[in-house]
């Protein structure tokens, strides 16, 4: 069936009748607000309606309607994605999930939690930590991004090095299929061997298969203590080598960030960082565990740093100061824009021992093309976020930036890495995925997509480019 007449007007009328007027917006200003995620440059079209779901029932009704009339639906969390994933490039309906923000259960006995998918990650952290429980995934957008968005993109963060990323904690999901039926995948058992792992197929599905409405997550106990330290290195090579060595020597930091001096300098303008500002690369580290274990780890890091020739190891004793540094780290992407007009943060991830090669390659690519590049990220798991920054946006610079990104991605694949460690594919990487995964896998993905969503209404145009 097709909608006749003006689609925006029809959607407004039909959806308001179906869901109640307060949950539907179609004014041009609202459509603009929902046209892009954190990568505004990928905004290529506006939705024709925005729906603010408040219950599973709302989602079911909406999907049944959209499926019947073949209207595209793009699920949306906070719109903080960095791949253009929640941009509705084919128009249709953007489904804002943030009003579904209740934490339903935190079980100390089972060490699991169940929550609606619109819960903001930082609120979830606070709630479980009150019970002395711990949910490690920590994408740096945690103050706004949603659990649903995290699951849909397989989000990670600095703590990934020790604790893994979102998929390691997803035990089960409630999801609504495009035909409006509700399914509960997985469960709350920490081990499951019950047929195809549909939970993990939805994890990383980027809104292209179903709408995730509830998540069951595994929890750990909260480490009793944590400490922040910074290692100042005079060369990128040394810093990259230290990353592998620290871990090899048996210290597993909960966070191990690789930050170039420019990043430290910017962060210092946001919150004071008490280290020399003329190093080359800084390793920002957090250790967690009991005080005794942390003290032992610090001893090990200090002696290793001395042996390998690092300039300084600074322990941040003041908790407030440490919090300030981590807050500045969270704000690094917007901070970069204080200097540059545009910044594209890449997400290529390489095996840890290939970091030095990647660092060299990224510098060479920048020099070759004459574009500023930078690298700051989660080195502990090989996800050092190489990026391109532009002082001004001109067609020529944009083209160079695109070329630089392409070369970085190809280098990443060549080094045995992946094109995306945590941001997902969305629009940004859709041209490269076949290169990494091969045709056969993409064809299989398309068949899986068809099985979930035969009419192709769910977030169309993402993950792979259409022939």
């Amino acid at each position: 069936m097709e909608i006749k007449g003006s689609r925006i007007e029809s959607l407004r009328k039909d959806l308001s009748r179906l869901l109640g007027g307060g949950k539907v917006r179609t004014e041009p200003e609202d459509l603009l607000a929902y046209s892009s995620d954190a990568t505004r440059y990928y905004a290529q079209g506006k939705p024709e309606a925005v729906v603010l779901a408040e219950s599973v029932d709302d989602v079911c009704k909406l999907l049944r309607y959209a499926n019947q009339y073949a209207v595209p639906v793009t699920p949306r969390g906070a719109g903080s994605g960095l791949s253009g994933g929640s941009t509705p490039i084919k128009g249709g309906i953007v489904l804002d999930m943030k009003r579904m923000n209740k934490i339903l259960e935190i079980s100390k006995g089972n060490m699991t939690a169940r929550a609606e998918s619109g819960v903001v990650l930082a609120n979830f952290h606070r709630a479980v930590e009150k019970e002395r429980l711990f949910y490690p995934p920590d994408p740096q957008s945690m103050d706004v991004c949603t659990l649903g968005g995290n699951v849909a993109c397989r989000a990670g963060g600095p703590r990934g090095v020790k604790y893994g990323t979102t998929p390691n904690y997803v035990l089960g999901l409630e999801a609504v299929l495009p035909d409006g039926s509700v399914m509960n995948t997985g469960g709350i058992s920490v081990k499951q061997a019950n047929g195809y792992n549909i939970t993990q197929i939805l994890t990383g599905s980027e809104g292209t298969l179903a709408v995730i409405t509830k998540v069951n997550l595994r929890l750990l106990t909260l480490p009793p203590d944590r400490k922040t330290l910074i290692i100042v290195c005079d060369s990128a090579q040394l810093a990259a080598e230290m990353v592998s060595r620290i871990i090899y020597e048996g210290v597993m930091p909960s966070v191990l960030e690789y930050l170039e001096v420019g990043a430290i300098w910017l962060m210092n303008t946001y919150s004071p960082i008490p280290v020399a500002q003329d190093g080359q690369v800084y390793l920002l580290i957090e250790l967690d565990g009991t005080a005794a274990v942390i003290a032992e780890d610090i001893g090990m890091i200090k002696s290793l740093s001395e042996k390998m020739g690092a300039r300084e190891v600074k322990i941040i004793e003041d908790k407030k100061q440490a919090d300030g540094i981590w807050k500045a780290r969270k704000n690094l992407s917007p901070l970069i824009l204080r200097i540059f007009q545009k910044s594209i943060s890449e997400d290529v991830t390489v095996p840890r021992d290939r970091i030095p090669e990647m660092v060299r390659a990224v510098r060479e690519i920048g020099a070759l093309l004459g574009v500023p590049t930078g690298m700051s990220g989660h080195a502990g798991d090989g996800n050092i976020h190489p990026g391109v920054q532009l002082y001004e946006i001109t067609p020529e610079m944009e083209q160079k930036a695109e070329e630089a990104i392409r070369l970085m991605i190809e280098k990443g694949i060549e080094l045995g890495g992946t094109i995306s460690g945590e941001h997902g594919i969305g629009l940004h990487k859709s041209a490269y995925i076949e290169k990494e995964l091969g045709k056969a896998q993409i064809e299989l993905m398309k068949r899986i997509k068809y099985a979930f969503d035969p009419k192709g209404i769910m977030n169309p145009g993402k993950i792979w480019t259409e022939a």
Partner: protein, 401 residues
């Protein structure tokens, strides 16, 4: 300059669309609609007033109006996008200083120039409040104003340690005279000479909020000229919004060729909120005990000095027996937003509701805050049994002054 669209073009374009402001915008958190978060507001201003790719519709006005100017987004923005200044500038462009009905505009323009509601209007308002026809949460006016009690110079008791000028805001002048008296007594007791300069006007923040740049400039010019003449170590305010205005916005309101600009810039670092000042120079006299418990609401307009947040707590920690019980989110907005609580009362009440729950959860019955607007609106919400006060009044009592 605030009000100059071109000046803000580059800053508007700086917004990275990172979405991190979703965590702090009280209006967004209540409406749960992304159109009302700073990221979208800035984009809509960009499309309508700069690129002119979209017309200015009533919905655009609503998006620009439905903002508390709380500055939470500006304070947190890693990209240093001065969102509240952009919104004020957009209001100036849209309304040219006539955002409200003539009576309201008269209020911000004329009455505030005289620093608050005095004389006959004060009498009328007091009558309206007696008859319960004034808006709930509107502060009670005092018929005896602060400036009728104090003017000129007040030498300290004991050894003189410093000399300050006290900029008394409109609220203290006409509604919360008790706070003004406490400031005078506590400063004097601590060896600080206080001057009350004559002919000061409102700091200009209410006019600025309306996008009425001309009126705000008039007030600012008047105040800068007077304050620059004072030979003092510091300029003290008790109201964090007056302080923000004097310290960080005044200079931004003067054009580059204005002869007063240099004076405004020179004044800025001298401006302190009273507890912040006392905490910086230290108390000369130890306060006596107070067997009470209090909680502390940190006003949103706190970003203009880094120490303002903690100052009352550090200062009051010197009072033996006084106990502090923290809210879960002491920095969360109360929703009052100057006159916002009258224009968007449902929304404002919704924001206040969360704050009230947090306050009552502390189990105490005394609330301190350095913003008279927050105090008045929260006090109306809390009802009987609660005392709301400026932190300096606790100090006054501890001194037995």
């Amino acid at each position: 300059m605030i009000g100059d669209l071109e000046h803000y073009r580059g800053l508007v374009e700086k917004c990275s669309h990172c979405a991190l402001c979703e965590a702090v915008c009280p209006v967004y958190l209540e409406d749960m609609l992304e159109t009302h978060v700073a990221r979208a507001r800035v984009d809509i201003i960009y499309q309508t007033l700069y690129k002119k790719s979209m017309p200015v519709t009533p919905r655009v006005r609503e998006i620009i109006d439905r903002c508390l100017l709380c500055t939470s987004c500006t304070q947190d923005c890693g990209g240093a996008v001065p969102v509240h200044e952009i919104i004020i500038t957009a209001r100036a462009a849209l309304y040219g200083g006539r955002r409200r009905n003539p009576l309201r505009d008269y209020f911000t323009r004329t009455m505030m120039a005289k620093r608050g509601i005095k004389g006959f209007p004060a009498f009328m308002l007091a009558a309206a409040q007696k008859l319960h026809v004034a808006p709930e949460g509107f502060p009670h006016v005092s018929l005896r104003t602060f400036d009728s009690l104090y003017h000129g110079s007040y030498p300290p008791t004991g050894k003189k340690r410093a000399k300050v000028a006290y900029f008394t805001g409109c609220a203290t002048n006409t509604m919360d005279v008790e706070t003004g008296v406490a400031v005078m007594k506590v400063l004097g007791h601590n060896g600080i000479e206080v001057v009350i300069p004559d002919k000061l006007m409102c700091c200009g923040i209410p006019a600025l909020g309306e996008g009425d740049i001309t009126t705000a400039q008039k007030m600012v010019r008047n105040n800068v000229a007077i304050l620059a003449e004072q030979e003092v170590d510091a300029i003290i305010v008790d109201c964090t919004s007056c302080g923000m205005m004097l310290r960080s916005e005044t200079a931004k309101l003067l054009p580059a060729d204005d002869p007063l600009l240099a004076k405004a810039v020179a004044l800025s670092p001298k401006v302190f909120e009273v507890t912040d000042y006392l905490n910086t120079i230290g108390l000369a006299v130890e306060p006596g005990p107070l067997a009470e418990s209090f909680t502390y609401h940190v006003p949103c307009h706190r970003g203009w000095t880094p120490t303002l947040n903690e100052a009352p707590l550090q200062l009051l920690a010197s009072i033996p027996g006084l106990r502090y019980s923290a809210m879960e989110e002491p920095e969360k907005c109360c929703g009052a937003g100057g006159a916002f609580f009258m224009d968007y009362s449902d929304l404002s009440r919704g924001i206040r509701k969360r704050k009230l729950d947090d306050i009552t959860g502390t189990g105490v019955a005394v609330l301190i805050s350095q913003c008279p607007g927050c105090r008045s609106d929260l006090s109306a919400g809390l009802g009987k049994g609660w005392k709301t006060a400026h932190p300096v009044t606790l100090l006054r009592r501890a001194y037995g002054l």
